[in-house]
Symmetry: C2
């Protein structure tokens, strides 16, 4: 494998979370939310299977809704929640309904956590830099540096969107007009996805049909099966009457990189099988959209992902203390005591029956605490993705010149992905995400660079996919999550382990403690799990 | 094959259009637009390949833009255009720029042709019925009975959208949460697309890997190829370490038809290969989105497809004579004479140098004319699709109860498809397309029914995919294009043949005379082709 390939392989990691033995007593059938998982996938990797087992007789499972918790169970109890991200605000929103008196300590002046959207005039603050976004003021000109898409089956998050009246629109993962680029394949020339997909299917179908026709699979397939599968393969790969693959209209027409409107009648020459399969690179990119959390339809809030953070904030704003930087997390005889520095620099304390801590482990490990040795060890060793993104304002050359509407191009270079905007189709200018590295060495390199260095590198690399880059992309702004204050990482990638269990009256939540690490749905699930644990203490 | 299957096979027809020999002299490199094609696909079928040939050395083709015609070539010349659909209005819009004096005779009171959108209060008129749409007044509650999606590479149509400022959004063809239903497979139970896709890929990959590992393809694959293709297949099908397929997270989890948020850890049992391949049915539906014109990203105008018709109309309204029903098309010594009945019932005549006739062949054959025998024969024999659609207003049970956001479910029943709305995600109610049959016997049956019979049949059949149908869908309204006045068909499916050539000074256009039959882009291409022919006459 080339260095590029190794980088990619490391990026597409999977975290296997062991089953949690002896989990707390369940309040309801489905209290296993957030625990009992065997595999987890991060926000940007295609999921791989755990060991399959025979399913139990299909229990038509009821969706566990927050309403399942006992009414008024929290009356007279206090909770201090650390962090006004999606996990913390979900917990406050739900627990207040149960009677708990909630206080959220939020280190920054804004709620939402990593749920952020940058628009003209906004600042992107890192530990050693401040960038100001200079996009034109325009409802379509925004950049979601954190979460930027929602799976259609992330139903708790979608339920809140429905409840809060947040308009949603489609987010495109797979666009057959987008590009696949390997520095070492096809002479470094980017290939249009439609060709790669069509020719890959064609070759797979051709080879399997050949094996079937050579009777190589007669032990697997009956005569009827053989006839059926040959018919299926013909359609699957667009094979000719002799089960050969000699090209397909699906791949487009020569000289018309993305169009079929100009002239038809000649097929483009198929890409060579040897090149198509020569790199792990191609495989990953084609199968990416097959992952359970990446399958269509993907969604995004109209106007920016922070519509969700803002909506949660509206619900719990009265509970939030902004610019409250936690300095100590202590256990007391009756519960917890949190010491924090307020916006004026003064130290204050909050006593409560429970603490629900959603502070990222990377930040938490540097806060004075009374944690158990086991909890502290887990917090200290928790690994985070070094993911980052950069965005530019630009003429929509991808639409106007290449018929690319939304979707993602891939490259073996550090920038990894280019995201075309899913909103404002057909307008003159838009915001393009010029790099999204999920983590690993590329993410570390990105974080180590100055904002200007990132811009320069991104324009150079992006230019290998789109010659227009140098002339068109402007006003670059980047976010390297490793260096964002009070986050210090993009998403958790370690086994949650003991952090799924409370430490005395201190409970933990956050996307990193869920089966959907790196997803907002995971943050919500983790909040539900923590609420389960707290409520269990208060049920008579 | 069952009757269902035969119906499906007939629906997914392909029209092969022979090369047009001796086409008119070209005005520019790319004047071959609309002619010189070897295959064409209708608006609703996946394209199949013509015989592939080696492409010429890649000519970096310039997009032929209307601006390529000689300035002022039409000054002093008159054109009467029959029909204010997309073809007719495109022609008027472009020819006026060249100096031609254009008059459009439109039989109805509205421009747009089959580009229509029905909203609350609108009427759907057929030859023997009038339905009034009773949807709630709401920007998301509309029904596009004609064209309803735009391919991302239909760049002339998209160029006009850009020029006219028409907002676009994504249209979803492939949604892995949608359903595939066969009356004769899986006990008639609909299957969630994610399972069918994942298990089909898994089985294909498993079988090909087995053949590779048995050395059955050693004449095709080198040792390196074998290693590479095995790695690729593992990812393609989500195979285990031994290249077996035993299920995948991609298919979802047991008991959670569309979700991964509740509990993970157990994989759903794979569907049996024998059932997956037992019907042509499954194959078509999985490969549908691979067709060149159906690949993602597909688009739709925000607010309804008639945004496009309205925008064209704004440009050429001054040229349109509404409710002008053509009665005669005559050749004169100097050009053409059209006789029509005006809105008051009086007969009028228009003389012009040229006629550009976009009237559908099904209607045209009943208008008195001076056509050549060859043209008349082509017009008389031209076949049209009997496609039709029905829509309902309903609670969004598909989103709220099944996490289906946009996309299409398929069934072997006559209704063929269910389309979930691509706009207004997350709102309480929406408009669902309960049937879209592309033509054939199912379309004929649909057209023969009364509107109420169509509603009843659709609710019965749709109920086999969604039990909610009987209780939830309301206010059904249908359009059977065979019975729509001045259309009498959904789209042309015959070889354009001689109709691509003028008959004296009478030129022909319309989607049926293009390489993209059934698509608005085809209507535009046909208009360009006709303009080419007229301009050629006027070039000095």
């Amino acid at each position: 494998m080339s260095t590029d390939e190794k980088t990619i392989a490391r990026r597409d990691f999977l975290v296997t979370i062991g089953r949690v033995a002896g989990s707390a007593a369940m309040l309801r059938t489905m209290a296993a939310i957030g625990v009992g998982v065997s595999t987890a996938s991060c926000g940007s990797s295609s999921a791989a299977p755990g060991a399959p087992v025979q399913p139990p007789p299909p229990p038509r499972m009821q969706s566990p809704r927050p309403g399942d918790w006992p009414a008024n169970v929290g009356v007279g109890k206090t909770v201090v929640i650390l962090g006004a991200g999606i996990a913390g605000m979900t917990a406050a929103f739900e627990m207040r309904k149960l009677g708990y008196d909630c206080t959220i300590l939020e280190a920054t002046a804004v709620a939402g956590g990593r749920n952020r959207t940058l628009r003209g005039g906004d600042s992107a603050v890192e530990t050693d830099s401040v960038q100001v976004c200079t996009f034109d003021a325009d409802p379509d000109h925004y950049f979601n540096p954190g979460p930027a898409r929602i799976s259609h089956h992330h139903e708790f998050l979608l339920g809140y969107c429905r409840q809060f009246g947040i308009a949603l629109e489609t987010f495109v993962n797979d666009n057959h007009a987008a590009l696949l680029h390997s520095s070492t394949s096809f002479g470094g020339q980017p290939q249009i996805k439609r060709r790669v997909v069509a020719d890959t299917r064609g070759n797979i179908a051709r080879l399997l049909a050949m094996a079937v026709n050579q009777n190589a699979l007669d032990q697997q397939l009956s005569a009827t099966d053989k006839a059926n599968i040959l018919a299926m393969l013909q359609e699957f790969g667009d094979l000719d009457g002799n089960y050969n693959y000699t090209g397909t209209e699906r791949a487009g027409f020569p000289g018309q990189e993305n169009t079929g409107s100009r002239r038809r009648g000649e097929l483009v020459t198929p890409l060579q099988l040897q090149e198509l399969i020569s790199e792990t690179f191609w495989q990953l990119r084609q199968d990416y959209g097959q992952g359970l959390d990446q399958q269509p339809t993907m969604l995004q809030p109209v106007g920016g992902m922070d519509r969700i953070g803002r909506a949660f904030e509206q619900q719990v704003a009265a509970d939030i203390v902004y610019e409250a930087v936690v300095g100590e997390i202590r256990k007391t005889a009756s519960g917890v005591r949190i010491v924090y520095q307020d916006r004026f620099g003064a130290m204050s304390g909050v006593d409560a029956d429970y603490c629900l801590c959603t502070i990222p482990a990377t930040v938490l490990r540097n806060i004075a605490n009374d944690f158990s040795a086991a909890h502290l060890s887990a917090i200290s060793n928790f690994q985070y993705s070094s993911a980052g993104k950069i965005a530019f304002q630009s003429r929509r050359f991808w639409e106007q010149d290449h018929n690319i509407y939304g979707g993602i191009s891939w490259t073996t270079q550090d920038i990894t992905q280019i995201w075309y905007p899913n909103q404002g189709f057909g307008r003159d200018s838009g915001v393009i995400v010029g790099a999204y590295m999920f983590g690993g060495p590329a993410g570390n390199t990105f974080a180590a660079q100055t904002p200007q260095q990132r811009i320069n590198a991104c324009i150079t690399q992006g230019g290998r996919l789109h010659a227009e880059y140098a002339a068109e992309v402007q006003r670059g702004i980047s976010v390297a999550w490793l260096k964002v204050p009070f986050q210090l990482g993009a998403w958790g990638i370690s086994d949650p382990g003991i952090l799924l269990s409370p430490d005395g009256n201190i409970f933990f939540a956050g996307e990193h403690l869920s089966l959907l690490q790196g997803w907002q749905e995971g943050a919500i699930l983790s909040a539900y799990h923590a609420i389960d644990g707290i409520v269990a203490r208060d049920v008579v």
